[in-house]
């Protein structure tokens, strides 16, 4: 069988320089890298649709129960949410920076930025922990389990609406708001945890010196994932905390 001249050339070119990171079914590192990246973008598209369902539920219930959402926002502390927003934005910066470090083979910078991203994610989860435990403590939870004693209501709420009782809120269906709140932030939190796992993994690989100028796809793709997790929070924050 006669193959064309061009084909011969590519075959011979690819053979001697075959780097160890190159999987057997790719011809070049660039092809491998761009394939991984395309797959990651598709995965992120999938992630967006995954969250879309919850955003739809949010929209439907908010449309039908304006007042419930209004009262509910008093339960959320915008300062804690704001703090978390800053923490996540910082981590996005360090994530992007880590990609740059990997591309430039700055080993120390790479390790630092990966570690910082991991720590920011951890800080986010700590704040989340305090928010959650307070709500669970006073009984600001989902469905018919919602039951907050009037004494535990947020002071700002009582100030604006004196005479409001926990029972009134319960009858208003506040449990549904918290069902949505916990599902959305919970699902997002799971993604943050996964992100922490990924950054730990990258850190170990970077320690072992796996990445170089031509092979840094993993750092790039995890950073993409991390930006999406961030972006979802950027929507969650105003929709949940800032709806006065």
């Amino acid at each position: 069988m006669s193959t064309s001249v061009a084909e011969h050339e590519t075959r011979h070119e690819a053979l001697p320089a075959r780097p160890k990171e190159l999987a057997m079914h790719f011809d070049t590192l660039h092809q491998q890298y761009s394939t991984g990246k395309l797959a990651m973008w598709l995965f992120l598209g999938q992630e967006l649709l995954f969250f879309c369902g919850l955003f739809t539920a949010y929209a439907v219930y908010r449309g039908n129960h304006q007042e419930m959402f209004h009262y509910a926002h008093y339960f959320l502390d915008w300062r804690l949410g704001g703090l978390n927003t800053v923490v996540l934005l910082t981590s996005s910066l360090t994530a992007a920076w880590s990609v740059r470090c990997a591309q430039l083979e700055q080993r120390k910078g790479l390790l630092i930025t990966l570690a910082l991203t991991f720590l920011c994610a951890g800080a986010f989860m700590v704040v989340k922990y305090f928010e959650y435990s307070h709500k669970l403590h006073i009984g600001a939870v989902w469905g018919s389990n919602f039951g907050v004693a009037t004494a535990d209501l947020p002071p700002a709420l009582l100030e604006k609406y004196p005479g409001m009782t926990g029972q009134q809120l319960q009858l208003m269906g506040m449990g549904t708001f918290f069902a949505i709140y916990f599902c959305m932030t919970g699902l997002h939190g799971i993604h943050v945890l996964v992100g922490m796992g990924l950054y730990a993994w990258l850190f170990v690989r970077a320690l072992r010196g796996h990445f170089n100028r031509r092979y840094y796809g993993a750092v790039d793709n995890v950073a993409l994932y991390w930006h999406i997790v961030d972006m979802i929070w950027i929507f969650l924050f105003p929709l949940l905390y800032l709806i006065g």
Partner: protein, 568 residues
Amino acid sequence: MAGGIVEKPASGEVIHPKVHYLNASKGLKSWLVTLDHKRIAIMYLVAVSVALLLGGFWAVLLRTELLGPRDMILSNDWYNRAFTLHGAVMVFLFIIPGIPASLGNFILPMQLGAKDLALPRVNLMSWYLYVIGLVFFLAVLFLGGLDTGWTLYPPYSSGRDIQWNLILSYTAVFILGFSSILTGLNFIATMHKLRPKGMSMYHMPLFLWALYATSLIQVLATPVVGLTLGLSLVEHMFKIGIFLPQYGGDPVMYQHFFWFYSHPAVYIMVLPAMGVQSEMIATFSRKHVFGYKAIGWSSIAIAAIGFLVWGHHMFVSGQSPTAGIIFSLLTFFVAIPSAIKVFNWVATLYKGSIDFKSPMIYALSFIYLFGIGGLTGLFLASIATNVHLHDTYFIIAHFHMVMVGSVLTAFLGGVHYWWPKMTGRMYNETLGRIAAVMVFIGFNVTFMPQFVAGTRGMPRRYANYLDEFTIFHQISTIGAYILGAAVVLQAGYLLHSLFKGKKAPPNPWGAASLEWQATSPPDFHNFTEKPIVMGAYDFENWELVSEDAGYRLKREVVETGKSLSKVH
């Protein structure tokens, strides 16, 4: 250059490879950790066949129970479990992953002349996720079964006291969804990045266009059902009040979410089947497929419009009448690209030199059965008739026409079509034809009476019925037995061929897509030489050597490395 896989000795003697992907390494472990798409495809084929038999077992029980109007062999409770498990297993474990994950997995990289899918590890992972889903459903069976219907509507499902079978079912569908998403994104990445030089999108076989459209839906729709069932799981455990009315939730929202996936999912099922169909029709008419671009783009159109019609499952759910009218109109639109395909297949047959090999018999049944399935979809799409026909046997017959009549038929046809390539053996052609005709007859006998029973008011999901429906049910049950017998017959001769079948030549059918340039079964790396890239339907490049030796590339093609076709 001498040698290579395509050049056969002039005598027409066929070279059978001694070492190929099946025996390149040995032992169970070499299969369980394999990254080879061909082996993963075979493992998928085995797994989905298990699911098919499991689902079929329930179907036979259901039909036997319906032989008479009163209780026959199943209690009412077990009847409910039987139809739920039948539906859930068939939909989530057989028909959705069926063609793409088994045939697609094997054939897609080969039709591109590539060595593997873009992400081999992800591919293996999707198989393991699938198997976990399968095991969960088996566990459900032993935990007392599930009786909610495959649609798992609340409040009947998640609103109950916490029970393992529901927890496992939700988790299983969630995991299976993930498996399906991974397959889809892997396919898209492969088609974009591993296509060889010289093969544009318009040179790809139509099977790949169909898989592309399928993958788009898998990636974009499946997460929504994942979320829905994930929420249902949380709802079931904590009663959070998103879908359950007694806690302030909205069950109609569940239906919206569920069908937002599950309608596109019917195209996840049927599009790959249409792809297989296009290959078989063209190959056995020995004619360039008619309307290539129309068929290719209609796949994409179906995928796109398919996202906008989910409300046709909810005409009587209390959704707003305006929404109903819009959904009805859009549903009519989706029939257009479906019809485009049918017309093009028929036009391909016209003046073709038709060869009634077993896969072709399936392909011809497909045209007929899909025609009826699609047209009855239109009855259901118009609101006034829908109100009368909703939840009757008419619906059952409609979707079995498309899901079994079309998808199962194409799956079986595809398995026969690529069997020589996958296993390196020929099955018994006479038995193959008999089985194909039995499937066609059995299928019609089963479902035609159900249309009639449905229009006369026989509701779905009942174990007992009025005496006047007896005759329809009895005929239908006989048909189901014929269908069952055909499947048993197939299993028999296909397995037999693995051991005793004649060795298959590289290209027994004279098909022109690239996988036929590889040996049967293919090498571990798929091709021992780079295949000559040519149009997928350039049949004029191949000439018949003999019945046993199949077809070989013409000398000129081998020498110039160029297709003889003028179509492109």
